[in-house]
């Protein structure tokens, strides 16, 4: 199965919410959020959309088939333009 990369941990840190709080909002076990963040589990479309809805962002900002650039890389890239 193709790996799906995500940046849930980044969004979660920015929003200042715990795994447990996010899990409650999405309606899953906190362990599932941990496994998602670590890349041990690929979510269903429904779960991916639910998580995106919590952060109020489009789902493609959270999940991708390609690895996301690190925060440093993203900031450096922004500085170049």
């Amino acid at each position: 199965m193709k790996r799906i990369y995500n940046r849930i941990a980044v969004f979660r840190a920015e929003a200042g919410i715990s795994r447990k709080a996010l899990a409650e909002k999405v309606g899953v076990n906190p362990q599932t959020i941990g496994f998602l963040e670590r890349g041990d589990y690929n979510p269903s479309l429904e779960m991916a959309l639910n998580i995106a809805q919590v952060f109020k962002v489009p789902v493609e900002l959270l999940f991708s088939f390609k690895p996301f650039p690190s925060v440093a890389e993203a900031l450096l890239g922004q500085g170049d333009t």
Partner: protein, 176 residues
């Protein structure tokens, strides 16, 4: 953590902690399923041994051993990723683990049943044409032993399969 207010209660609490039972209780009551590897294997071995006893030694004792292997296996399964001892609503990942565990267990039991039917069929034919005196189920307890054996295979293989698919524990769960 032991209770710290009354010296007697504190000592009793420390003693209880040393037995390991409170830690086990906390583990079983946590939201994390327990990863079982050796216990289902031991129970499967006990079920095989029980079936052998049923065939070669005792008509009643072997059946009981197989039944106990299934009962304990079912109890263990409840606390594994293939069960739901808490009775909580499972999310999609947990439900998928339960389904895939029981699929593996069911497939293993089906394989054993098909192979067993062929072997018992051949044994029956061999007995009829006087090629030997092979065991075939004859009594009620023989059939019960076979049924409990298949149940034990399903329960324990499901536990092992779900445990194997459970990702390693998360070590950074301090925010939970």
């Amino acid at each position: 953590m032991p209770y710290q207010a009354d010296p007697l209660s504190e000592k009793l609490d420390k003693f209880a902690e040393k037995t390991g039972m409170p830690a086990l209780s906390r583990k079983l009551n946590s939201t994390m399923p327990v990863r079982f590897r050796a216990i289902p294997l031991v129970l499967l071995a006990a079920a095989v041994a029980g079936l052998w006893v049923q065939i070669a030694v005792s008509d009643l004792f072997g059946y009981l051993v197989v039944m106990i292997a299934w009962m304990v296996g079912s109890g263990v399964q409840a606390f594994s990723a293939a069960g739901n001892a808490r009775g909580a609503k499972l999310d999609e990942r947990e439900a998928a683990l339960v389904r895939s565990g029981h699929f593996a267990g069911g497939l293993a039991a089906l394989g054993v049943a098909v192979l067993g039917c062929f072997l018992l069929g051949m044994a029956s034919v061999a007995n009829q044409v006087r090629l030997g005196d092979f065991w075939v189920p004859g009594t009620g307890t023989d059939w019960f032993a076979l049924a409990f054996f298949l149940l034990a295979v399903e329960a324990n293989v499901a536990t092992m399969a779900a445990s194997a698919k459970l990702p390693p524990d998360l070590d950074d769960e301090d925010d939970e």
